[in-house]
């Protein structure tokens, strides 16, 4: 069973590496992200939003859902720490002896 899992994971790894070779390189000006998305964002930031910072415009407006999710992640992290470490409402079973 262990070897089956290992073989399967190795197969997935090879598949992903093979698929990676088809991705456009990051600096390629002809890649779809650079041909379609970037000019659109630059243009819309100027015409629709009128803010100088394109990064903020993408973060807060075009990718608003993403930033909402990030805020939820941070809030959930705080809640988890609160639930794990808070001793509020916990019964004191045996007080420490001194």
């Amino acid at each position: 069973m262990k070897w089956l899992t290992f073989t399967f994971l190795a197969f997935i790894l090879m598949l992903l590496l093979w698929a990676t070779s088809d991705l456009p390189s990051r600096a390629n000006p002809q890649s779809p992200a650079n041909v379609h998305l970037s000019p659109e964002f630059t243009k819309l930031t100027e015409t629709e939003i009128h803010v100088p910072n394109i990064v903020s415009a993408i973060l807060a407006d075009f990718r608003g859902y993403d930033t909402l999710g990030e805020t939820f992640v941070i809030f959930t992290a705080g809640l988890a720490v609160l639930l794990v470490l808070s001793s509020h409402g916990r019964k004191k079973k045996d007080p420490p002896k001194k």
Binding site: E48, V51, P52, L68, E70, T71, I74, F75, L85
Partner: protein, 154 residues
């Protein structure tokens, strides 16, 4: 821990120079998030660092509970920050647009009030950055408070 660090120059500089600078810089980063590098996350982190620095200076477990921000207030602030974000999105829906489409929210009265000429989208961005700022800052302080408190006597 009693008073051996009361008069060190490090503590003096931190209390009288660093903390006010960090608070002002956090608000600057928040407000100028659209026109220069910055935004809610960064401003929240800087503001939380200022509050945590205050707690480290007065690292006295007796005074921390009474002088620092109380935990319920911090939880309310974190929830309010997230709520501002979510409610802004729902508000756009109520005005007939998609979720988080700030262009539909009528914010022109604020432009006239402040004498500025900003689009609704820029205003909406600023509002959600404010929500992110509140959430990030209070969550960081919550985590610090919980990790630094004494579990034996609280």
């Amino acid at each position: 821990m009693n008073q051996p660090y009361e008069s060190t120059i490090l503590k003096f500089i931190a209390k009288n120079f660093l903390v006010p600078l960090m608070v002002v810089f956090a608000i600057y980063v928040l407000i100028h998030g659209e026109s220069s590098p910055g935004g809610g996350f960064q401003a929240g982190a800087i503001f939380a660092s200022a509050i945590i620095l205050v707690r480290l200076i007065g690292a006295n477990t007796q005074t921390q509970g009474s002088k620092g921000l109380p935990m319920p207030l911090l939880i309310i602030a974190a929830s309010t920050g997230l709520g501002i974000y979510v409610v802004t999105g729902i508000l756009a829906q109520l005005f007939g647009a998609n979720y988080l489409d700030y262009a539909a929210i009528p914010l022109q009265w604020f432009n006239e009030f402040a004498g500025e000429n900003r689009t609704n989208r820029a205003m909406g961005m600023w509002i959600i950055e404010l929500g992110v700022f509140l959430g990030v800052a209070s969550v960081l302080v919550i985590i610090f408070d919980l990790l630094s408190k004494d579990p034996e006597n609280d």
